[in-house]
Amino acid sequence: MKKGRVVLGGASALVLLAVSAVAAPPLMSRDDIICRAKSGVGFSYYWGGACWCASGCSPNFSCPAGSCSGNCPNCTHYGQYGADCSGYVTKIWQIPNPISVSTCGHGPYVASMYTKTSSYWTVISRNSLQPGDSMASSAHVLLYEQGDPWGSLVAYEARGCSSGIVRNWRTCSGDYVAARRINLGTPCACTPGAKENRGCGQCGTQSRTCGSNCQWEGWGACTGQGPCAAGTSEKRNCCDCGTQSRSCTSSCQWAEWSACDGPDPEGGTLSCDTGEPGPCAEGRIRCVQGCKTCRRVVDPTPELCDEVDNDCNGQVDDGHPTELGDPPPAFAATLVDHSIPVVMHHGEQATVWAAFRNDGSKRWNKNEIWLGATTVDAEAALYDPESWAAYDIAALLDTDVEPGQVGVLTWSIRAPEKGQSSQQTFRLMDPSGSWLRCPSPELQVTVRLSAFGRRAEDGGLADTQQGGENADPSSGCACHHVRAPASWSWAGWLLFALYLGAWASRFSDRSSWRPEDRR
């Protein structure tokens, strides 16, 4: 009771009376009380003291905890912060006035006062103890936090000089009396009737009203929501291998779906047939705009002479491709030279020749390479039944020709008995009887026909066209277009015959020759 005399003695008692007349402890919840109690744990016992520092519900030891030694009240305390039991409870309960725990000053109450009902607390039954209530004896007061299964309790208390402020399980003798602070509850949160709105859900709004108890009622339903939550996104499958996504805008509305796309199935290794000819037939399954699509591996290219349908038009080496592929076809030829009469009499026979370079990869064997006639028309085909092997085979190669060498075929043609001109296209055939296709394996011949005893008496031209459009320019041959004199004298015919003879003798001792040899 020394403490009581100290605290309440003299002027202090008058101060207490004055304060009590106007005091108003704040509304506090039980959680508020326990929170303040927790914040003091670890500070020292300070007889006559009552302050500490808090950080929320935790102690804040940036304020030194202090230390106590000796036997109180004749004890010694070092430091500013700490509390004795009644100062601790009084500061937590904020009686008689609101006060921070860090505001030092013991307050007007001692432990024994808490054993009797006062203006700020009421003595209660022990069996009705709840968190934040007090238990007090004539010498000590503590705060009840919870009971334990055996009927004892867990308390916050400024226990004594050697222990300080602690939270601990303990027993209380029959000397202890329970008490409850007034003004327990939740502080007024709003003005009755006030309304408050807030955003909710997916860009919706909801409202609440302040009830007559000056507490907010529950929030109403969330209305006006959009179909999605802002910032979210979703994805879906499309076609048979693609996905697409869309995102939710800040106004909780879905944006448009993105393009349908996806990775190639099996990493693009699945084979398929594009249905196109040639190399374009080979395809791989790709994911195009989300759908499985067979896409060719090789795109069409200009046709080469290589036994491949490079342009994927369904025909191999068509159009007389002049560029050789690598590798070249087994059989390929280039017309390098030829000799053809321009004008012939009806029924006249003439000997002609053509030189082809073996551009294929295989050797031309004697008698296996034929020169065929592509137009089977006895009236206009320059067919010579006396020398041709068949009506459509004008000549056979009579020597072997290695790749890169030139072979010469010689045959005769006979002018038809009537008509003004005759045309024929001669083309090489491989051993299987198939036409060679490129680069220029053919010779187109057009002969003007004359019913009189001399050729080209009308002064016209006899035309030949080599292997399609392209003759080998490297051949240097000047005979592509042989101009015959408009009027032939016998001397002229003699000179012409000598000229032809010179050409024939040039090849008579050689079965083949290279164009290069001529340079």
């Binding site: 403490k3 010498a139 000590h140 334990d148 299964p149 004594g160 601990n168 399980w169 003798s173 029959g174």
Partner: protein, 342 residues
Amino acid sequence: MKVSRGKRFWGGVGLAAVGLVVAATSMAPGSLAFSKNNKETQHVTSSVVQAQGPEVVLQVPWGPEKEALGRVDGDESASVGPMSFAIGQDGSVWFLDQSKFRLARFGKNGFEREVGIGSETFQDVEIASDGSFVLLDRLVERAVVVMAPSGNIVERIPVQGEGIEDAGLVTAMWLDASGVWLEHLHTHRVRVLDENLRPCERQVLRGREVAEGRDVLGARDDRGNVSLWIEDRMGGNGRQVVVSAPEEIGRIIWLQSDPYGNIYAAFHLLAFDPDDPARGVVDRNYGLRYDKNLQETGKWLSPWTIRQWEQYREVRVQSDGTVWQMGFEDGGVVVARWRWEA
């Protein structure tokens, strides 16, 4: 039966009352010394025997002398007496006289010896078979300390760890054949030292062990009714009983079993005037003995209850079933026991 605490105290100075068993009911209001009443009688049924006692074994006065025990009278703080006591193998009594920084042994001839403990914040003590002391400090050091008979500290481990989040919530410490256990809020126990008093991997089990893999637990409701029940660690819950007590039970003081599976329960009967919650109308201790199936087999009554001087350990039970209590009186400390007829 109502007992008013304030009218219970005895006349005379009783240091010489060791071993004395006196049956009396007289009270001496205002006396400061020990009471001569140390036994109460109660009618019991034939199947429920009453323990023999209380037999006052020791009465030690308060005081600064080494032959006396210390206490702290709180002044805006907690009042404390010796927080715990233990029984030596020779029947002597060790007091945790922490306010005098010591363990003090008293025998039939009074004070025998003391061992310094260097702190006044220990709250419980156990004595090992080799004479070592196990001390508990929940609030300041938050440690269990093993001290040799000489007083040298040989082990110190933290209280907090697996099973114990807050050292302040330890409700008991005891030593048995398997080691040292700490109890958390009367719900689960944690083994913290092995049988050699060495640190060990913590083992957490519910309740307090009875025997044969079973544990006993207790709970009080807010109307003062107490239930005890057995939990079989393999088979689940076993028998449960509602404690039959003559008055409202304020709290369970202690639960302990002996090697035969008998369970000893001590209760603080405490009731207040419904019209004046500050006025106590019942305040006494009450004990029951149960067999391992929670059949009530014995009871005892004690006039000593916890006073304004706080104590951590009030009751303990020896392996032969003898119940010991340390009670505080104005004149000093009383240690009494109750024994059972063979």
